[in-house]
Assembly symmetry: C7
Homo-oligomer: 72 residues x 7
């Protein structure tokens, strides 16, 4: 059995894709997270619906807005 | 009586279909879950409304976005 | 006084109709539930707005998406 | 001072009208409730916006979908 | 400093106007409340957007649907 | 570091502008608040989208509907 | 591993960009925060969708409306 937290720990310093509740997708290096699944992404890029990109740098994300985290 | 957690445990390493609050459907092998019903799916595919598929690989899902888990 | 949990316990192995927050209606045999009102339905059928049916088999439902449970 | 729980206890076995978050109105005999304001209604009828009625029998309602309870 | 609970206590048996999350406005005599801000209104009238009134009598309101309470 | 609670304490008896989740803006004298950020405003005025004003007097606001508090 | 709280502490007295659930973006100097991610911004400016700016001065933000915090 792979616990969700264990997979996140294995993904530290790897690039992940985060889907947020408002349908935004952020890609970045997973730098850290806490027990509420608040997360820190570095070198973050936001991909909007019309395939534009926007560089966001370091971002703190509130866990309760995160839908899913995909390992890229 | 079949407790929800017991059915999830029995479904480990089996393919399941997850319905999310935003109406997305993910199919994948249930690799793990925790007490908040956060889940790990492997070999995940997303099925959108217009029957397209998208491969997502390993995905961590936040439990509070999950509506239902069907055993395939 | 009939406690909600007591009525659910009496309904184990009986067919129930579940209304979810997204207006979907699921009918199935209530196999179990926990203290968060997460539920297990078996031989589940989904009834959509336009009276179609879809067989879902065994389903785990997150309690916080359940609006009401009717005993059929 | 009339505590909310005290008014509910006084309403046991009386007919009440429940307004849910999705604007549905259910009328029935209040058979019980718990500390989360989950409720049991018996001889329940649903009244939709266009004044139709639908008989639902015994219903368990999740407290977090209840907006208000009126004593009829 | 006037604590929210203190102002509610001072308003017992006075008429208040309650704004709910679904934009409904209820006016009535505040008969009681609990620590979740669940409330009991008596001689309640609902005022809809188009200035109609509807008499509701005694009503229990779930605190998490209340936006604000104005002292009339 | 200025803790959120410390700034609110410093704002007692000063006029503040409250943005609510439903986009309503209330201006009034901050009379008090509790640990859930429930608040008491006095001499409250509501400003609607079309720049109308409505006098509301003393108002208790539920913290979970408050988005932000600006010191005027 | 960079914990979310650690990145916020490092950002004290630096300018940050806050995305709120209602899509508003606030820029300001991060003056403080608490364990619920309630935040204090100073010299705050709101940027609306149509690139207008509005000066808001000192603002307390409720953590549960915050989606993400970007370090500018």
């Amino acid at each position: 059995m792979v616990m969700p937290i264990a997979l996140l720990e294995k993904s530290i310093d790897k690039r992940v894709s985060l889907l947020l509740k408002d349908n935004r997708v952020l890609e970045g290096k997973l730098a850290g997270f806490d027990e509420y699944m608040n997360m820190v992404l570095e070198d973050t890029e936001e991909r909007t619906a019309n395939q534009e990109q926007r560089r966001l740098g370091s971002v703190v994300l509130r866990g309760n807005n995160v839908v899913s985290i995909s390992i890229i």
